[in-house]
Amino acid sequence: MSASVDAITSLKGKFPSVTDRLSSDCPAVSVPTGELISALKSLRDEHAFDLLSDVTAIDWAEGASPRFTAVYHLYSTTSHAAIRVATPCTGDDAAPTVPSVVPLWPGANWHEREAYDMFGITFEGHPDLRRILMWDGYPYHPLRKEFPLAGIETVLPDSEVAQETKAKVIPAPMMGGPFVASAGEMNLTDAEPRAKDESWSERSAKPGA
């Protein structure tokens, strides 16, 4: 662990705007978006954090500032230290932006595509920013907090194939919300307090439907 502490001390010397971040495990820092690339490069080249374990993002819900935070987990295969780097996304809620780290670690390619798919974060400089888990042309970003747990009905990806072949395409049933066995006469939100999506139930129409 001391390797990560040393790395953070030296990082703070180089970039005065780097601040400590609360963490329950490995040391963590917050880096301004503009200095992200140079900070990560310095961690990789000078402190031997050679493995990029993970790139992800957090949505702090509508109205929060910053709304989105990008998170990078680095690991050193020599000192076996780990470090977490977080950076706020710039831009408005509709199109948050953060620089891409694909030039540093090619493995970030799919992670950033996933974060783009799930949160709509644009990674500037990414060579091929497409959706990865959802299909091309899917209109929403499902891990955003305003996206309802039950989903929003959309045109299915193979609808044009269905038109052509006259095959029947039926979406998976959504009645009663996900993982709710039977709401019976009760309202969905009463029957299942954990399904916190209260924007629709059996008695009120789904948003966007």
């Binding site: 090619p106 799919w110 299909w135 499902p142 891990l143």
Partner: protein, 410 residues
């Protein structure tokens, strides 16, 4: 009388024809329903003759939105979802998830619970590697390996069923413990399994290790260099086969792994054969760990007794004592009370490093949970290493990477 054959002419004609066809490339879509893609992976390939010029993996066919689901349920309710990540080693996933949440709660589980978890995780590793090996053998045409490994997996599943009540979807861990203690005499049966498994494993491996056909198809095929493996974030046997000795059980021990002696096999070339050898050796090491765990099996509590807001009390107490009844009610309705914070915990799973990044704002439901799945990262290197390989080697390559789509797509 000499006959004048026009050989040179036809040769020239054939050569001309080849040039005529050379620039044409064929695009081929493999999957999502193809036996060699081990699930619902689709490869969008571009072929020049039999050589790949481009490969674009299409993933997401098995996307269920586990991360979204996790944000909407209590910590214990998510345990069954972790079964369905790497569904060949659910016990190892259960353990990784439980430790991640426990790290966030700064909760230490007793030694007996740690030993149970290590034991089950290593058994899950053996079971996952057996399946990976059998399927790999099948991909390159060696049927009998699968039959041998399925037989051994059946023995393991009997033990899992006795322990957890389920063969595949075990849902064994809880935050702060496991769902039940080990049954009487179970450890003896685990050792009996090890005794018959060791010679059986050697027999199974002997079908492949010195097999000329198998070597011809795997040695020197699908080489992943050390630098590439690190740059693309490969982990597990795939990374170790490329010569990087990274095993979190050794390097960042969790759940008491530091007490057990075992070796980390490392490859030298990073080809399909090295990946196979690494998995074979890892099974031997897992059996070694299992024997050590059983030999020094600790007594005492099998769940964190002091964690009154996290682990539900025993059933007989719930039914007879008011305080325990309330405690159980709160844990079931509100969820285990986990303090606010951020945690990222990685465990060495059979497929590689499975990481859980959990952001909590306090209470029984996580604010954000990211699952870093090893199969997803391992597959991301495909566009890089597939270029220039033969079409028939792609099947070998996929088999040697040993991925699970349930974990890749989440």
């Amino acid at each position: 009388m000499a006959t004048d054959f026009a050989f040179p002419d036809s040769a020239a004609k054939a050569a001309g024809a080849e040039q005529e066809f050379a620039p044409e490339k064929m695009s081929l879509s493999m999957g999502p329903s193809h036996p060699a893609t081990h699930g619902v992976l689709r490869l969008q390939m571009e072929l020049d003759g039999e050589v790949l010029t481009k490969c674009d993996p299409v993933v997401g066919y098995l996307h269920r939105g586990d991360e979204k689901i996790a944000e909407n349920m209590t910590y214990n309710q998510f345990v069954p979802y972790t079964d369905r990540l790497d569904y060949l080693a659910p016990l190892a996933n259960n353990m990784a998830y439980a430790i991640a949440v426990e790290r966030l709660a700064k909760l230490e589980v007793p030694a007996r619970c740690q030993a149970i978890r290590v034991l089950t995780a290593e058994m899950a590793r053996v079971s996952a590697h057996l399946m990976g090996l059998g399927a790999f053998g099948l991909d390159v045409g060696a049927w009998s390996v699968l039959v041998h490994s399925l037989n051994q997996r059946e023995h393991l599943y009997k033990l899992f069923e006795e322990l957890t009540g389920a063969r595949f979807t075990t849902s064994y861990t809880r935050i702060g413990g496991v769902s039940r203690d080990i049954p009487d005499g179970w450890l003896t049966r685990v050792i009996a399994f090890c005794d018959q498994f060791e010679p059986a494993l050697e027999e199974t491996l002997s079908l492949l290790t010195r097999n000329k056909i198998f070597q011809d198809r795997t040695v020197g095929v699908g080489i992943i260099s050390r630098a590439d493996a690190l740059a693309y974030g490969l982990t597990g046997p795939n990374l170790r086969a490329s010569g990087v000795s990274l095993d979190l059980r050794k390097d960042k021990p969790y759940s008491g792994y530091e007490q057990y002696a075992f070796d980390v096999p490392v490859g030298s070339k990073g080809d399909c054969y090295d990946r196979y050898l690494c998995r074979g050796e890892e099974m031997r090491q897992s059996v070694r760990i299992i024997r050590q765990v059983v030999a020094a099996f600790p007594g005492g509590d099998w769940y964190a007794k002091d964690a009154r807001k996290i682990f539900a009390p025993p059933k007989d107490k719930i039914l007879t004592s008011m305080e325990e009844l309330i405690q159980n009610f709160m844990i079931v309705t509100e969820g285990p009370q986990i303090p606010a914070g951020e945690v990222y915990f990685e465990a060495e799973n059979p497929k590689g490093v499975l990481g859980f990044f959990i952001v909590s704002k306090g209470g029984g439901v996580p604010w954000r949970m990211k699952i870093r799945s090893p199969s997803f990262c391992n597959l991301s290197i495909l566009p890089k290493i597939c270029v220039g390989t033969m079409m028939s080697d792609v099947v070998t390559l996929l088999g040697s990477l040993d991925f699970v789509m349930g974990e890749c797509d989440r």
